[in-house]
């Protein structure tokens, strides 16, 4: 482990000033100029992008094939304990929380660049709190859908109102909603766990000993990706 760390540290320090004289394809030049760990995180995120896209595209495909689809404004109309006609309010709060936690994460990465242990730890704590708040909001939303509106992965009563009575809506609505937001929530949860691990290491001074805070950067990439996926889930499920 320590071997690879020193290797990456020495690999990244001499910035490829020779690029212009030697050219890209003659060897001896780092083609990406990022460390192994960061490159692998990027590749993982690319594969995860395809997973999420497959889910969202199948959702879109099914939605296009149905003659009726529940109006999101009438499905997600509750804000915690407040009853009734409040579309988008709760999900706007969730989006705000995730954007803010993304900013605190990027500030943690920046503080890590400057090797400021306490400042990095402070921003990591804010990021973790943001993640937990988001998960709490999502739990409320799921509880409302499952307990109050009776949405399951196979059945719901969100169809068109006929003679004042709700009718069954497309059964796939619940399946896609719970699968995709659940998969995203799972990512947020594992992101929080990773953030806690990194925070413990920051407080223990592991990265000061190592000489760089690159782990914060790697987990930061993951966290921003989770935010990015939410941007798409938000658009696909609540706006369109």
């Amino acid at each position: 482990m320590s071997n690879s760390v020193t290797a990456t540290a020495t690999a990244t320090t001499p910035v490829d000033t020779t690029t212009h004289t030697r050219g890209w394809w003659r060897g001896g030049v780092s083609p990406f100029n990022v460390s192994y760990g960061k490159l692998m995180m990027w590749i993982f995120l690319l594969s995860d992008t395809f997973t999420f896209c497959a889910l969202l595209v199948s959702y879109g495909s099914t939605r296009f094939s149905e003659p009726y689809w529940p109006d999101p404004n009438h499905v997600f109309d509750k804000f915690f304990f407040l009853e009734g006609d409040l579309p988008l309010v709760s999900v706007s709060l969730m989006t705000f929380i995730l954007i803010v936690s993304s900013v605190t994460m990027v500030l943690a990465v920046h503080a890590g660049h400057k090797m400021r242990r306490k400042e990095t730890a402070k921003w990591m704590v804010f990021t973790i709190i943001g993640g937990l708040l988001f998960l709490g909001c999502q739990a409320f939303e799921w509880a409302d859908l499952i307990m109050e509106k009776g949405v399951t992965t196979a059945h719901n009563m969100l169809g068109p109102i006929v003679n004042g009575h709700p009718t069954p809506g497309p059964g796939t609505f619940g399946a896609f909603f719970f699968l995709i937001t659940g998969f995203h929530g799972c990512h947020v949860f594992s992101g929080v766990v990773l953030n806690v691990v990194i925070l413990i290491n920051i407080l223990k001074g592991t990265y000061d000993k190592r000489g760089h805070y690159e782990m914060v950067e790697k987990v930061g990439l993951y966290w921003h990706f989770v935010d990015l996926v939410w941007v798409y889930v938000f658009t696909c499920f609540y706006l369109l």
């Binding site: 910035v15 404004n73 993304s102 900013v103 920046h110 400057k114």
Partner: protein, 137 residues
């Protein structure tokens, strides 16, 4: 590249608090993301109460704004905009496959709906009529 140099310069010359140019640019991205999101929600509410922007136009605006947000998150927060071009293209070129996937599968879903619609309006009544004719025989 310029950013890392700037960071090193700060690290050496211990910057004065609150005047960090990188933090300033990050906060700018935050305000852009927040403004775009607020604008999206405002549009959604406008449509909800007045039905003013037609649904198709509204959806197009939402998709464009989502891509704008993705650009800022990937480019600035994930720092991809400041990486080497080889890295940028390595991750952007595979994503172009998704353009095909989205078009193909939405097209597919749409044709399914048309088939179901056709079945409901044309085939089912015909078979019912044929069954009725057979019974009458």
């Amino acid at each position: 590249m310029e950013n890392t140099q700037a960071i090193e310069a700060q690290h050496v010359g211990e910057d004065t608090e609150g005047r960090d140019p990188i933090v300033k640019s990050l906060m700018r991205v935050f305000w852009i993301l927040l403004a775009v999101t607020v604008f999206e929600i405002a549009l959604a509410f406008l449509h909800y109460f007045t039905h003013f922007p037609p649904r198709a136009l509204l959806n197009a605006v939402f998709i464009v704004l989502t891509i704008v947000k993705a650009f800022y998150i990937i480019g600035e927060f994930m720092h991809l905009r400041h990486e080497l071009k080889t890295l940028i293209w390595t991750f952007l070129i595979p994503l172009s496959l998704l353009v095909w996937a989205i078009i193909a599968f939405l097209w597919d879903g749409n044709s399914w709906q048309q088939m179901r619609d056709h079945e409901r309006r044309v085939i089912e009544p015909t078979t019912q009529w044929q069954k009725a004719a057979e019974v009458n025989h």
